[in-house]
Symmetry: C2
DNA sequence: TATACAAAACGAGACGACTCGTCTTGACGG
DNA sequence: CCGTCAAGACGAGTCGTCTCGTTTTGTATA
């Protein structure tokens, strides 16, 4: 029986940070799959039980580490031009997906496919909060008549961001800034001949 | 050194089929991650080496099994109405993604995130051949003036299919047939106010 | 056509290396 | 004195390789 209480009051912040840093470092060097919990503990100079006391799995550690690592997310910009603002934010995502460091994120999403608990924490910690900023910006744009009034905003968000994730996870093509332009062009102007 | 030659001429088709069937059955029952190669071998009444002789990994076995399982892909329909044809094909995909059996596909894509060889075989065996049928249909539609002439067809394909994969892999929302309608509506008519 | 033979695949399972998540120990600190 | 801590032992399970002895397959020969 694992009646670990894990009272945050007693948490050692020094170890906490060391674990997150060690996890990111090892995953950067050798990938998420080949990084064992034992190795993270050793690298962090920490007992393995200390990791399992505070996180349910290796993936959960990296979700927190990735979240902390990501820029403190300066809320979605609002220059008045929704197309330009979307482009700026999507280019940031596209560049991140192209960078080597994103492969840890990629692998964590992969692990989530076989572990519902990981899927939950990825969705709630990494995806949902960032989607929310985008939704707010789109709401403003809709009020200003820059996008159709009859759309569901979550549908719009997925339409434009999904191609980036599709390429990240299926590896069809790289996610270049130019592709962001193409996606937005198609999504805004539509596929019908003009 | 593993100098297995594995000449297909000597392949035992009885075992071949038994392995694919056993793999699908066990993954259906307990998931891909919890299904070991030993278990597949036992279930198929086969030596483990027989599996490793013909496939490089568990994931590769399931890619072949999933590919064989999928309907013999009656090429993309062409009724003259590209929007209707896309809807029909996408609804099939959306329904598959909603069905329980798709979780094996989902997990294999997950495993591919940590194994480039698996990613390659997923892309080449499962994704590319099916994308090709769609591309041909879109080419015909473009010739007939049903979609803009200035688009890259692969961009169009990803724009409309990516939202389904996004939901499958991130688990944001279910992929209902109604959502297919929404996606096509947004993609064809565009986001700009009319 | 029938027989003989070599090569390769076959079922079964042993093997070492590794990882998992839990459990134990004794020291430390508020 | 309590809970956390570092360290590491532990059993269970998986991986991919290797080794048995047997059976199947394709081909050459009579």
């Amino acid at each position: 029986m694992s009646t670990e209480s894990a009272n945050p009051r007693y948490r050692n912040e020094r170890s906490h940070k060391a674990i997150l840093d060690a996890a990111l470092k090892l995953c950067r060097e050798q990938g998420f799959a080949k990084t064992s919990v034992d190795a993270i503990a050793k690298e962090a100079g920490v007992g393995k039980q200390t990791i399992y006391r505070w996180w349910p799995s290796k993936a959960a550690v990296l979700v927190e580490a990735i979240d902390r690592q990501s820029a403190p997310s300066p809320d979605f910009p609002d220059t008045g031009d929704v197309l330009a603002d979307l482009r700026d934010q999507m280019v940031i995502v596209a560049r991140y997906f192209q960078a080597a460091q994103s492969s840890t994120y990629r692998e964590v999403i992969g692990a989530a496919q076989s572990d519902p608990a990981t899927a939950q924490v990825v969705l709630n910690t990494l995806v949902r909060p960032r989607v929310e900023g985008c939704r707010n910006r789109l709401e403003q744009a809709r009020r200003q008549g820059q996008i159709r009034a009859d759309v569901v905003l979550d549908d719009v968000i997925e339409l434009i961001y999904a191609p980036l994730y599709y390429r990240l996870l299926l590896g069809t093509r790289p996610t270049t800034p130019e592709q962001v332009e193409v996606i937005l062009n198609l999504a805004f102007d539509g596929l019908r001949p003009r």
